[in-house]
């Protein structure tokens, strides 16, 4: 009897839920795990310093975030998607098809990608070509295309330490992987002259493929988890070299030693000036259609890109974000609610 009553009351709760689901008063954010720490820092400061509630920030990757973003317009869809890469045309189309027709693109700054090894290990001074030769499935040796024969860094270039090659690189689901392939492996392929040999020996298309295909003999390990996993792997395999975000490295300088690329030490300054080659812009995408229905949405966007937060010397920069030199233009675009073409 009692359970029957409970069931009835439970059903009443479900019924009531449909009506209670109406007005949402906090901003919902989802997307890139690289942008997540910056977004939480801003969300926290926004909640503290304004009368608006603190936005809810989820992570799950750029693609997952943009997919959710493009599900439609309304209370039960997210307002902002964080991304560590620009939105793709296919995603814009998906957005348009679902009625998300006005999207604001906001670039918050740049993120550096660094190579770091255990603090007690050897010092490294890499070039992109070294990384290509170390990790590519096929390399060019004496003018011929051969399967990658290198097992030690010193075999690639005599200046490098006599240490086994072991690299922990981000898995294919990470946005970081694309940047790594484009700015390190592909650049190294060109730099070392292997690209030309591949093109003549294997043909245009296969040559390009050969530039990007990585060796699978265990020297290059894909990490599908986050940077904490890469750090744990390096701590157990001391001769490993991992790929990290600059902010992660800066929080763990007591455990990690960073390598230079082309003689340039990664830092917020060298990345801002463009000297350090491996960096990428970070974005968030905002539904203009939600401005006015979700309280504080525009204020949040303006707060995010304000000089106090995203500027040089602000809390985001102190966490490892490289401030955007064109921040003033971004601020103006946000104030004017400029949308991107779809």
């Amino acid at each position: 009897m009692k359970s029957a009553k409970l069931t009835v009351s439970a059903l009443a709760v479900i019924a009531a839920s449909a009506t209670a689901a109406a007005a949402r008063d906090q901003i919902q954010i989802s997307g890139s795990s690289t942008v997540l720490p910056y977004a939480t820092i801003v969300a926290e400061a926004f909640g503290e310093n304004t009368d608006f509630p603190t936005p809810v920030v989820e992570s799950g990757g750029s693609s997952a975030g943009l997919k959710k973003f493009c599900e439609g317009v309304g209370e039960n869809t997210i307002d902002i998607a964080n991304a560590s890469r620009p939105i793709k045309d296919s995603e814009k189309e998906a957005c348009k098809a679902a009625g998300v027709t006005e999207i604001m693109e906001v670039r918050i700054g740049y993120d550096g990608i660094v190579f770091a090894s255990d603090i007690s290990g050897n010092d490294f001074a890499f070039t992109s070509a070294d990384w290509f030769n170390a990790l590519s499935a096929q390399v060019v040796k004496d003018g011929k295309v051969v399967a990658n024969p290198y097992t030690k860094w010193s075999e690639i270039r005599a200046d490098l330490p006599d240490q086994e090659i072991l690299a922990f690189i981000p898995g294919t689901k990470h946005g970081t992987r694309e940047v790594f392939e484009e700015k390190v492996i592909a650049a190294g392929c060109k730099e070392s002259g292997a690209a030309e040999v591949f093109n003549t020996e294997l043909g245009e298309e296969a040559g390009e493929q050969a530039c990007l295909s990585l060796r699978t003999d265990g020297k290059s390990v894909d990490i599908d988890g986050d940077y904490t996993e890469t750090l744990a792997r390096i701590q157990s395999a001391k001769n490993g070299i991992g790929v990290f975000g600059l902010s992660f490295y800066e929080n763990n300088t007591d455990k990690l030693k960073v390598a230079t690329i082309g003689g340039i030490q990664p830092s917020t300054e060298s990345i801002a000036s463009g000297e350090y080659p491996v960096s990428r812009p970070l974005y968030f995408y905002l539904k203009k259609q939600h401005i006015g229905t979700v309280p504080g949405l525009k204020e949040f966007a303006e707060f995010f890109v304000s000089d106090d937060l995203a500027g040089a010397g602000g809390p985001l920069a102190s966490y490892g974000l490289v401030a955007d030199p064109e921040l003033a233009a971004t601020q103006k675009a946000v104030a004017d609610e400029v949308t991107i073409a779809q």
Binding site: A4, A10, S17, S33, T40, E44, V57, N76
Partner: protein, 451 residues
């Protein structure tokens, strides 16, 4: 096989067996038994060792989260900085941002260092201001906004210190590591030591770990599991209210009333299958059914609770049916024999006797749901939530986190101090589970009856 050879062997060659001297066959059998016992004992020893190692690493790693280092300094809340118009208008006071309060705290600390004559070589301005947590200005601001009369007075502010300093007193940070650490320096640690010698800095029991919300990546020292505990509690409430009545009613019908035909067989097989479905599948279902179709809000405990209800139902139904089956038919027959209706026999006799089994099954199902993260991933509960949800029923529709989600989130943060927090959250989760399991055992003892 060995039996066969003995049977087949000629009688004359068979060794004489006696009670005092065991024949080879008996010895083999005894040895096999001894080996089997050793395997069993070995398995238990291995699992116990693993359990001890697990508990030890979690406890040593997480116990630090329950203690926190605080600094107590006198702060003069000057009118000139906090209330330029001098009218204590809340709107004007609200315009003074945490930045100003941060400067105020920094000046106060500088003053203390100068007054006490603390001199440390290589102490930079960044080291000094970095000693105080970034959370401290926000708390001071809240304190002043709640009580504007404080402006103009000198109060003793109890502020959190930076996570690295806190780690120094918990053994996570040393002078050696500080030398290489970009976020602290040996000079900063020396300053902390000097303040400690003055009795201004102390590591104390930290209730706020259990009551405060999550904090961003720059403030590990301020992060707590308050919202996560509340969110988990709300979800368990929803599961209790929905899964128990539905599950028990379904099992009573299936076990006592339903005709035994092909349809009930199909339902039975499906329930058993549902119990084995990976929990992430329920998350996908929840996203499609409750959020996209039902229009419920994202990140809300009600959706989490509904998803976990779906996940727990099969477990509860299976446990309840087993408990009902275990009640001897003689009880039913006797009740029916004295003229009770089938419903009376079930509700007056069978159900009370099956209660301990039902309760145990329910609590174990809920404990399983408590530790679940995967389905919550898809409905937006794996999130950074800073505002506490209000009391139910409205609170069920407001964003909240959950305990296992908090553990998952913290293990992904860059600052090593969050590893301690994650272990601390695991301890809280384990205590929760332990309480539920103890409750299950107590209830079983209390109501159990043997035949």
């Amino acid at each position: 096989m060995s039996d066969a050879t003995i049977e087949g062997a000629p009688r004359a060659t068979q060794p004489k067996s006696s009670l005092l001297v065991a024949d080879p066959h008996t010895r083999r059998r005894h040895a096999a038994e001894a080996r089997f016992r050793a395997y069993g004992l070995g398995a238990i020893v291995i699992s116990m060792v693993m359990l001890v190692v697990l508990l030890f690493t979690i406890l040593t790693g997480g116990i630090g989260a329950f203690r926190q280092t605080y600094l107590e300094i006198p702060v003069t809340l000057e009118d000139a900085q906090l209330d330029k118009n001098g009218n204590r208008d809340p709107a004007d006071l609200g315009k003074v941002l945490t930045l100003t309060y941060g400067k105020l705290l920094q000046q106060s600390l500088e003053k203390v260092v100068a007054d006490k004559g603390i001199a440390i070589a290589d102490l930079s301005a960044k080291d000094l201001s970095g000693l105080i947590s970034k959370e401290a200005p926000a708390r001071l601001r809240d304190q002043v906004l709640a009580n504007p009369d404080l402006i103009g007075q000198t109060i003793t502010a109890r502020v959190l210190v930076n996570g690295r300093i806190d780690g120094y007193y918990k053994g996570r940070v040393t002078m050696d590591s500080a030398l290489r650490d970009a976020n602290t320096s040996p000079a900063q640690l020396q300053l902390a030591d000097a303040l400690k010698a003055q009795g201004m800095l102390a590591t104390k029991w930290n209730w706020s770990f259990l009551t405060s919300p999550d904090a961003s990546d720059q403030r590990p020292e301020a992060a707590g599991v308050g919202i996560a505990i509340l969110g988990s509690l709300y979800m368990m409430l929803v599961v209790l209210v929905l899964a128990v009545p539905i599950g028990v009613a379904a099992s009573i019908y299936l076990e006592e009333f339903a005709p035994k035909n092909r349809w009930t067989d199909i339902i039975e097989v499906n329930i058993s299958n549902l119990a084995a479905v990976p929990s992430i599948v329920f998350g996908i279902l929840g996203l499609a059914a409750f959020i996209n179709f039902g229009g419920l809000p994202q990140s809300a405990p009600i959706v989490g609770g509904l998803v976990l209800t779906l996940m727990t139902l099969p477990t509860i139904i299976i446990a309840t049916r087993a408990a009902l089956k275990a009640v001897p038919p003689s009880i039913r027959d006797a009740a029916l024999g004295v003229g009770a209706s089938r419903m009376q026999s079930v509700f007056h006799h069978v159900l009370p006797l099956a209660m301990p089994g039902i309760l145990t099954g329910t609590i174990i199902g809920m404990a399983q749901a408590l530790g679940e993260t995967a389905p919550l991933l898809l409905i937006g509960m794996v999130a950074f939530v800073k505002n506490f949800p209000s009391a139910p029923p409205e609170g069920l529709f407001e964003p909240a986190s959950a305990l296992p989600v908090q553990v998952y989130n913290w293990t992904q943060r860059a600052d090593p101090a969050f590893i301690e927090r994650a272990s601390g959250a695991i301890i809280v989760l384990l205590v929760f589970l332990l309480c539920m399991n103890v409750l299950a055992i107590l209830l079983r003892r209390r109501f159990e009856r043997r035949w």
